[in-house]
């Protein structure tokens, strides 16, 4: 009986489908107005390619959670310009400092976002920039310390406008 179906299943699915339909419709409408023939979308990074990109940086070392803080808005209206701040808990002395901060993503065409190299002269381990996000996805920041250890943090973001425009709007 339908009365016994849990609320989440009853109300969740049609909503998700309707939302997906609206997004698709918007993409198609936008594409029709701007580009009559839209080529197939570019290749996407996947969680697997993100892991490969991370491995290229980290090697065989283990990456521990902690010390790193990603500051990224959880809900992003425009994926073309997203403020990103990465801070690392470190005294930034000659003996103990952050050597590099690498940022990765799951679903942009490429898994790498930015690699930043710091040293004890930075004074504090906090950097900010603006990035592009092609879809709702996970963003990961990995900090490489002067003692060779790696620390990370990740953030899940929801992007409402980006992917469908990336292929069509100049």
């Amino acid at each position: 009986m339908t009365g016994e179906v849990p609320m989440s299943e009853q109300s969740g699915m049609p909503q998700a489908t309707r939302r997906q339909f609206l997004v698709d419709a918007a993409c198609v409408a936008g594409g029709l107005v701007l580009v009559p023939v839209v080529a197939a979308g570019p290749a996407r990074a996947t969680p697997a390619t993100m892991r490969t990109a991370m491995k290229n940086v980290v090697g065989e070392a283990t990456v521990r959670k902690g010390k790193v803080t990603i500051d990224l808005p959880p809900l992003i209206e425009n994926g073309n310009t997203v403020s990103l701040t990465v801070a690392v808990d470190s005294p930034m002395t000659a003996a103990d400092h952050v050597k590099a901060v690498h940022v990765f993503n799951e679903k942009n065409p490429q898994p790498n976002v930015v690699s930043i190299h710091l040293g004890p002269r930075a004074g504090k381990a906090s950097v900010a920039t603006r990035i592009r996000l092609a879809d709702s996805q996970k963003v990961v920041a990995i900090a490489e310390m002067s003692d060779g250890s790696f620390w990370s943090d990740e953030a899940e973001v929801v992007v409402t406008l980006a992917a469908c425009l990336e292929g069509s709007v100049p």
Partner: protein, 106 residues
């Protein structure tokens, strides 16, 4: 032409951690977008940004297409001595831009 904005405090106390902001005008064409005729535009991005304090590197970034147009960076450094901070951006198609700012440390 290329325009770069640099924000460095003109004066600082010795040992103070100062914040530096940089913004440069650049399309950062990621190489995955089509133009109005449907042809893919080739990649044209800034790939490297280096900041030096009296000749010594204090900040370096490798940029990928996921960096938004008009690359913006905020970072910090310890004010050690009076002198010059230089900023250099390099990228695809021979792109190169430099900028500098003076700082007085007391």
């Amino acid at each position: 032409m290329t325009r770069a904005l640099i924000n460095v405090p003109p004066k600082a106390k010795r040992g103070e951690v100062i914040e530096i902001k940089t913004l440069i005008s650049h399309e950062m064409e990621p190489g995955y977008r089509a133009d109005s005729t449907g042809v893919l535009k080739p990649r044209d991005i800034i790939t490297d940004f280096v900041c030096k304090y009296n000749g010594e590197e204090i900040f370096r970034a490798e940029l990928f297409p996921a960096i938004a147009a008009n690359p913006f960076f905020v970072f910090s450094t310890v004010a050690t001595e009076s002198g010059k901070l230089t900023f250099e951006w390099t990228g695809d198609n021979g792109f190169s831009a430099t900028e500098s700012a003076d700082i007085t440390v007391e």
